[in-house]
């Protein structure tokens, strides 16, 4: 009589064996295999006793207290999704309006600079113009930082997805549609301002966002894998994080107390 091997006994225990009636019949007549089977059952009964630390009655409340600030940030971010396109349009209008205003006001001084104190005054005017131009730069960096922050979260979700499984992206897809529109405006604005670094990151980001916005509600494992490779190959996540972090610093400067020179 051929005994059941240990693997078959384990499979039988979990009802995963290929021929349960045959195994059952063998166990009925074979004392040795029955003993093996009983040992496995007892060992696994011991495992059932493996302790799980008791987190106490207040655990749920403690988890909520740690979680709620994160959820608050999520909700705020959710609101930002809807306002992002509007903010992008405002930045673009402000920027192009500023350019137009600057061109009109500096047109008469395009000739040779006057001598002496007038030359200094002209330099100040031009300097003031330069300061005025710096402000939209900072605003651009802040708003782009926000945009990149949201894009980064989407990229992280994609990068962490299991490439062997389909991925439901219905919620990301809706976000991607908004982000594509914003991304185009920011990219064009950055390019026209000569900020090649931001323009380049946005340019790398755009095809990924476009692909996501055009995808269905889920990605096949092949699509997930292809997107992950694209994100990885361009070091996109890293670039996005760097510029996003700079946006954060710019925002801190923007919200810092106003210095006397700006008054």
């Amino acid at each position: 009589m051929q005994h059941l091997n240990e693997e078959t006994l384990v499979a039988h225990y979990y009802h995963d064996d290929d021929a349960p009636p045959a195994a059952e019949e063998h166990l009925r007549v074979c004392g040795a295999c029955r003993a093996q089977c009983e040992t496995i059952r007892r060992v696994l009964a011991l495992v059932d006793e493996a302790p799980v630390p008791d987190r106490g009655e207040q655990y749920g409340e403690q988890v909520w207290n740690r979680l709620r600030w994160k959820l608050g940030r999520e909700r705020r971010t959710g609101v930002r999704w809807q306002t992002l396109a509007a903010a992008a349009a405002l930045v673009a209008i402000a920027f192009f309006g500023g350019q137009l205003w600057h061109a009109r006001n500096t047109a008469p001084s395009q000739g040779p600079l006057p001598a002496g104190g007038d030359r200094v005054a002209e330099a100040r005017v031009r300097g003031a113009g330069g300061d005025a131009a710096t402000s939209p730069d900072r605003i651009l960096l802040v708003v782009v930082g926000d945009h990149l922050d949201m894009s980064e979260r989407m990229l992280v979700e994609l990068a962490n997805a299991d490439p062997k499984k389909s991925l439901d992206i219905s919620s990301q897809q809706r976000r991607a549609v908004d982000l594509v529109a914003s991304n185009r405006i920011y990219r064009q604005t950055a390019a026209q301002r000569g900020d090649e670094r931001i323009a380049s990151v946005l340019s790398d980001l755009e095809p990924v966002l476009v692909e996501l916005s055009h995808a269905g509600s889920s990605l096949t494992p092949e699509e997930v894998s292809a997107l992950q490779k694209r994100i990885d190959a361009k070091g996109l996540l890293f670039k996005v994080r760097v510029v996003s972090a700079q946006g954060g610093r710019a925002e801190q400067q923007r919200t810092a107390p106003i210095d006397s020179n700006s008054l």
């Binding site: 384990v10 003993a35 009983e38 060992v43 696994l44 011991l46 799980v52 749920g60 979680l67 709620r68």
Partner: protein
């Protein structure tokens, strides 16, 4: 009863009611912790998994089908979060670092009460079981936990781990064999009465 309560609470949470989501967090944190602890074998990691699971659930609340069981849905997310954590730490295919050798385990048992019923209750025995689980590789532990504690079908375990069904079955067997090697001295070897 809990399922009925969850349906109404989830519905309110989906409409943006933070109080409703708070109730879900308080109701489900402990069960999620149990899953996470069994998967990760570490309290702090399990706490992290609880947070991440609930955060993901919040983000994906729109995707939850109300006919489904909310607890089961959270359980799946917790399993995935635990796997992500293990993978991110490169522990998934490595052995857990148990600090008790088989010789130590068996040496200690010779001094213990030989009655299984009493042993079952002892703290030492629980420690041995914990140590035996820690000695499984990440894949073995995950496959075993999902099959033994969660009753997940082998096919689904295979999909979860990205391996074939037969490989999943064999992984469960390897886990049981290792557990048996470590814990057999603690059980009485008698014949099956079934």
């Amino acid at each position: 009863m809990e399922q009925t309560t969850d349906v109404a609470t989830v519905s309110r949470a989906r409409q943006g009611d933070p109080e409703a989501f708070r109730q879900l967090v308080e109701r489900h944190s402990k069960p999620i912790f149990r899953v996470a602890y069994r998967m990760t074998g570490n309290e702090h990691d399990a706490d992290d998994v609880v947070q991440e699971t609930l955060l993901r659930a919040y983000r994906q609340l729109e995707q939850f089908e109300e006919r489904a069981n909310f607890g089961t849905w959270l359980h799946r997310i917790a399993v995935n979060c635990s796997l992500d954590l293990l993978r991110s730490r490169g522990r998934h295919d490595k052995h857990y670092a148990g600090d008790t050798s088989d010789e130590q385990l068996q040496g200690e048992i010779t001094a213990a009460d030989p009655q299984p019923d009493r042993l079952l209750l002892s703290v030492e025995l629980q420690q041995h079981v914990t140590a035996a689980l820690e000695r499984l590789s990440g894949n073995e532990r995950t496959a075993f936990i999902l099959r033994h504690f969660d009753g997940m079908p082998v096919e689904e375990i295979g999909r979860t781990l990205g391996i074939q069904v037969n490989a999943a079955k064999h992984t469960i067997f390897r886990a049981v064999r290792k557990l048996r090697e470590a814990l057999e001295p603690f059980v009485r070897s008698t014949q099956c009465n079934t």
